[in-house]
């Protein structure tokens, strides 16, 4: 009769003021248990100072086929990178 617990995606903030980063997933009946389980599964060696959990079903992801339309347009905009501009050495650090 038992039904499978939902899947949660786990995000951990490491020690050094970094962003939360996706580390994996796990099953848990609710958010509170998901955090408890994430502590045991993903931070047994001080890997983090903070945990986020999100139900996997609540994540909207871009499709692999959208890669072109989404990301190609920025390829042609090389002027967005500082190295596009030649600044003479005399100007000093910029």
């Amino acid at each position: 009769m038992s039904s499978e617990w939902p899947l949660w995606e786990v995000f951990i903030r490491g020690q050094h003021g970094l962003n939360h980063r996706h580390v994996g997933s796990l099953h848990a009946p609710d958010a509170e248990m998901a955090i408890n389980n994430a502590r045991d599964v993903y931070t047994r060696r001080n890997e983090g100072v903070s945990i986020w959990v999100v139900k996997s079903a609540d994540i909207t992801a871009s499709a692999p086929s959208d890669k072109g339309p989404l990301f190609d347009p920025s390829n042609s905009k090389v002027y967005r990178h500082p190295t596009f501009f030649d600044i003479p050495d005399e100007v000093g650090h910029m």
């Binding site: 009769m1 617990w5 994996g24 009946p29 248990m33 599964v41 993903y42 047994r44 692999p64």
Partner: protein
């Protein structure tokens, strides 16, 4: 290894020219060392083989807790007990990382458990041997985790993103496992003659099953060639076994132990050891379910799963009740 003799559904390896454009593009990405991610197109054979390999690997981590769990309550000191607990807990974690990786390929956790509990899925042959003395715990860390590391280090570069990332996490934790085992044995060989004899006995019993972990020679196997083309396997079974023997024999010598292989000799020319073959008939027997502990291991897994059902259901019921209450409170506040 932890996944032994994984089948691929391929009957022969096809060249790029024989593939349709979609599959060729996939194979070219793999050849270029790119990672394949969950929602991307992949050949059905690749997906199925990965599910088999990753789930076998996961089952092995989970079942692998049982032989060591046998000694948690009997560890000789409180410190050894805490260390062994931490080690076994890591193995539970390894199983969970791997189940998650398998689930990204479209199988559910319940399906995977069902395959294990029904005896349909395989796990590594090594965990069907009994742990008779405390020296066995040392031998497992040293030899079994040592053999696992041999196999898992190259798998960190495997083509499937979630599997590769799980392997990276696992490899970070494995060297503690091997060292704690060797440390147990270093202590014991300095003990009484009886304790030293216990270590030799453990090596005698675990040596050949450890060599079997790499599986029979697969140089002529289509499955192995296909898995290598897909980069979900990087080395042949014989290659890894050779590396393992070369690394382990000096470690046995350091402990003052004799490796139980009359054919073991240093081969100067190849820069490695020549060694005998394990009893492959025994291996196939264990794989077929007839090892010394197969029935006991599966029974322990089923019992744990069934005995925990009321607790899992209780947590689900609690979660549902809390969700209903939250919804009711929200309506009341509006």
């Amino acid at each position: 290894m932890y996944a032994q003799m994984v089948k691929t559904d391929s009957t022969r390896l096809r060249s790029l020219d024989e593939m349709d454009p979609v599959e060729r593009a996939f194979q070219e990405r793999v050849d270029a060392g790119q990672k394949i991610e969950p929602k991307e197109w992949m050949p059905e054979g690749y997906r199925k083989t990965l599910v088999r390999q990753i789930s076998q690997h996961a089952h092995s981590e989970i079942v692998g807790q049982l032989p060591e769990g046998n000694w948690i309550t009997r560890a000789p000191t409180l410190e050894r007990k805490a260390i062994l607990l931490a080690k076994v807990q890591d193995e539970a974690g390894h199983g969970l990382y791997l189940y998650c990786a398998a689930e990204t390929l479209g199988v559910s956790r319940d399906e995977l458990y069902e395959q294990l509990h029904s005896g349909k899925a395989k796990y590594s042959s090594i965990f069907n041997y009994p742990t008779l003395t405390w020296a066995d715990i040392g031998a497992i860390g040293w030899l079994v985790d040592g053999a696992a590391i041999m196999n898992q280090v190259p798998l960190q570069r495997c083509s499937y993103g979630p599997y590769s990332r799980a392997m990276i996490r696992i490899c970070k934790e494995e060297s503690f496992h091997q060292r704690q085992g060797y440390d147990i044995l270093m202590k014991m060989v300095k003990g009484t003659p009886a304790q030293k004899a216990m270590v030799q006995d453990a090596l005698n019993r675990w040596w050949w099953p450890s060599l079997m972990m790499f599986g029979p020679s697969d140089d002529a196997s289509v499955h192995s060639a296909q898995s290598m083309a897909w980069k979900i396997k990087q080395n042949s079974n014989d290659e890894l076994r050779q590396k393992f023997v070369d690394q382990t024999v000096p470690q046995a010598k350091y402990l003052g132990l004799t490796v139980p292989d009359p054919d073991l000799t240093w081969n100067e020319e190849k820069g490695g050891y020549d060694f005998g073959q394990p009893d492959w008939e025994e291996f196939f027997n264990v794989i077929a379910g007839n090892g010394p502990c197969n029935a006991e291991r599966l029974e322990a897994r089923r019992k744990a799963w069934n005995d925990g059902a009321w607790f899992r259901d209780g947590l689900t019921a609690h979660a549902e009740k809390m969700a209903e209450r939250r919804a009711a409170a929200k309506i009341a506040a509006e």
